[in-house]
Amino acid sequence: MLLPGILFKAAIFLFIFAAFASLVLMKYHKLCNIAANIICIAASIVGISVAAMQILYYSDNVIIDIYHSAIPFLTINLKIDALSSFFLLALFLLVLCVSIYSIGYNSHYYGKRNVGLFNLLYATFILSMFFVITSGNAVFFFIAWEAMSLLSYLLVVFESENEANQRAGTLYIIMTHIGTAFLLIGFMIMFSYTKSFDMFADSSAIPAFAKNIMFILFLIGFGTKAGVVPVHIWLPHAHPAAPSNISALMSGIMIKTAIYGLLRFVFMYMGIQNKWWGVAILIIGIITAIIGVSYAFIEKNIKRLLAYSSIENIGILFIGLGVAFIAKAQGNLTVCALAITAALFHSFNHTLFKGSLFLGAGSVHYATHSKNMEELGGLIKKMPVTAIFMLGGALAVSAIVPFNGFASEWLTFQSLFANIALGQAGLNIAFILAVAALAMAGAFAAACFIKLFGISFLGKPRSKYAANAKEVPAVMNIAMGILTSFCLLIGLFPMLVLRFIDKVVFSLVGSSIFGQFQGGFLTAAYPLKIAENAISPFTILIAIIGVILLTLIIIRIIGGKYIERKYGTWDCGYEALNARMQYSATGFSNPIKIIFKLLFQPTRRLKVEGNLVYHPKSIEYITSFESVFEKYLYSPLLNKTRNFSRKAKFLIQTGSINTYLIYIFIVVIALILYNRLV
């Protein structure tokens, strides 16, 4: 009982120590970087072990009281139960790898920027996320949430000389504060009925209509942080602007705190009252998944593509959560447990593979100083180790056997399957549309990552940056390697993580799916089995390797020794191909851009010098697309707000002292009247 508490406090202290150390050693860049990151690594190792222990062996919650003050409601206490421990496990695993990575990555800031400041912000950002996940009352949750938003803003604009970064940061801070405002109103409503901010307490004092309003407020508030459509517009700008290790943290964990918030506040605290809550989340999930992945496919900036892919995965998580909420409202606890298992598993997997992919994008940027796919190419020969890990991450995110993305998408499909039953006409249609959307999003995601890996790493280099790229330092590859190998390991043996999730789900729902577990890690090789449908990715991998070996032997027998002749690529008999003749990223995504014209509104212009058909001197083809949401939803809103404020400025702020005095007079009279009437 005491041990987890002590270890958690140790982890907190180590992070504070890391922040302190980076502050003290600010002048010595290299020492500061290595010291701070090593302390973070130690802290995350402690954190991983204690979170794992807490889930598996301890059933009581860990309560850490830090500060009780005389100011009412301002208590700082942490309450760590199974759900929090699970998210902490994901957080610390990612922090471990990102810290290892930062030892190498931050070296390109030495002498140019303040590495001490970076590490200070980094350590406190991790600490703020820790407090968000583990806070014991709503006020402290809110404080930690605000701190998380502010610190991530400072990290996003760290490379502030670039103007695009500044705009991205501004957009991010505005959008996240709009979401936080909704959360605040929700908390206020919670307080006004229950007179307390404790979200582990009972919520039956809140009447049903207030719970509906709170649900909508929480959905918008947490949805803004998660990046669901239509409040997603900050994500594709903020994640690419930040340095790559911060992007990995933001995409990997920060948007998952929204999922944690939804589970904690809506599922556990309020309890699911109506079916329409789940249906709303399901429909939002479907729209987010499809739109996210469509925009991902036409991007040519590697990090923006990864950011849109995060939006798609949040959509998939929302689909899983929606199914869970609907099942809970119908009282179907086994299906609810299955759906939450699928959602939590996918969240964990997404942390791993998205972290790996962002770190890979950072490595590419480190080696070539470019994030634009159309300037890259042929990197597989210059950076072979990074390429293999990036390929692993790409396979994982496309939900391909035998990586972990497949296992969690399989579970999501099974949860949808279990929920379609005879007799509920409207819901069945929603579920089958969710299946179709999930299938399409999966196929599109595979297409995105074929494009990312194929155009950046394969073929001929398209610019001199790519031609002169060199392999990145070994620490960066080690970090990526850890994440990617975990992806493969969890994909082969999903039971390793599912036993943790099972405990969490048991504490949430009260029903356990994989209840018949015995033995230690020997059960890891069990096939994943839900009600007679079973898959065993491990068997499939062994079978694939077996078949390949057998094929090699048989071909050797039939065809003799393998002789190959190297020659140029087929060029139709004309002169040799150059790098400009390859497909570019824009060209690769052109068919989809034309098919989904409604979403992208592409424009094209052709400028020709000379005769177009016979003797062109130069041809310039300009195509552009724009985000439909910014143009049709946000810009009109912004213009209306601006016009309204301009008019209001003239009407209300007249500059005449007498008018201002009249305002004061009216307000005082109104307050006195309010006191009389109420």
Binding site: G377, I380, K381, S398, A399, I400, V401, F406, W410, F413, Q414, F417, N428, I429, I432, V435, A436, M440, A443, F444, A446, A447, I450, K451, G454, L458, K460, P527, A531, E532, N533, A534, I535, T539, I540, A543, I544, I548, T551, L552, I555, G559, Y562, I563, E564, R565, K566, Y567, G568, T569, W570, L577, M581, Q582, Y583, G587, F588, N590, P591, I595
Partner: protein, 315 residues
């Protein structure tokens, strides 16, 4: 023991039958064009010849180019092991279902498209881009179709689906089944790159999709890819044929003779569907690339209507 026998029989039947199906389709197409055409067994000779030829590899390519044919072939073989040719011979433990099948083909397609981009040529990029577009549009339809059948048989395992339809008197007369059959037929045409989606015998860049991706391959790599493609085609046909036209409930014999009779009827059914595919190919033209979404939408509607008939109208 039973597992080993199952694996052997499956591999033997599917590897032997797959090139024959391709030969039959080509022969029927040749007849419709008033030619005699190549012999039906031509593909066997082609594969034998290709395995013994030298491979020419592009200088721009990396290990992905050489690894992709093996991955494509092995995923096709593993998929073949997941779809039983006869429900009389089944393994004791069955660790795969339709979603795994779809994902295996996705693995093969992933590496195929990467290998096409690996060569640094224009044809490869073009083939990859078109292939990726077509497969993304077809995938929802495929999953809704198999889900409908799975929901009717209450399981996503392929063997369970085949066993369920054995107990229905005439599956193709049920509205849900006939819609899903038509949807799956359209999907097979799209996945195996046949007219009207893609022409399997063309080398003009206007019309190539699958052929553009394998343009650079030669020797044993090309043989593996072609064999993988025909095995994939046969796996889809087996799925279609054994679920919608089940025959094992009519066989009263037991043991080896029953199994042999079952396999014989299976071969007849496959040839029937091959003839149907050939007739579909010769009666339409290849669609313009941007008309393929119309076909994909129609295929999705077929699957969706099938689902609605069963699950909303309770039949």
């Amino acid at each position: 023991m039973k597992n080993a026998l199952y694996v052997l029989v499956q591999l033997f039947v599917i590897l032997l039958l797959a090139p024959l199906v391709n030969g039959i389709i080509k022969k029927i197409k040749a007849f419709s064009q008033k030619r005699r055409g190549a012999p039906v067994l031509q593909m066997y000779f082609d594969l034998w010849k290709l395995f013994r030829k030298q491979a020419v590899v592009s200088e721009t390519s990396s290990w992905i180019f050489k690894a992709a044919p093996y991955i494509v072939f092995s995923t096709a073989i593993i998929a073949a092991l997941l779809v039983p040719v006869s429900t009389l011979l089944t393994p004791n433990a069955f660790f795969g279902d339709v979603i795994l099948l779809v994902s295996l083909f996705a693995l093969g397609r992933f590496f195929m498209t990467l290998a096409a981009l690996d060569t640094g040529g224009t044809f490869g990029g073009m083939g990859s881009s078109r292939e990726v577009m077509i497969s993304s549009l077809i995938e929802p339809s495929l999953l809704v179709s198999v889900f409908t059948i799975g929901l009717i048989s209450k399981s996503t395992t392929i063997l369970a689906m085949m066993n369920t339809t054995k107990n229905i008197t005439f599956p193709l007369a049920q509205p849900a089944f006939i819609m899903v059959f038509l949807a799956l037929f359209t999907i097979i045409i799209a996945e195996t790159s046949r007219i009207p989606v893609d022409d399997p015998e063309t080398h003009l860049e206007l019309t190539m999709v699958h052929e553009a991706m394998i343009l650079e391959y030669s020797g044993r790599h090309l043989a593996l890819i072609e064999l993988g493609a025909v095995v994939k085609q046969l796996v889809f046909i087996t799925l279609l044929v054994n679920i919608f036209i089940p025959h094992d409930q009519l066989i009263a014999l037991a043991g080896v003779s029953g199994l042999l009779l079952s396999l014989l009827i299976y071969v007849v059914k496959v040839i029937l569907i091959a003839v149907l595919m050939a007739i579909a190919e010769i009666s339409t033209v290849k669609l313009r690339l941007f008309s393929v979404p119309n076909l994909a939408a129609l295929s999705f509607i077929l699957a969706f209507l099938g689902f609605l008939q069963y699950f909303v109208l309770w039949r």
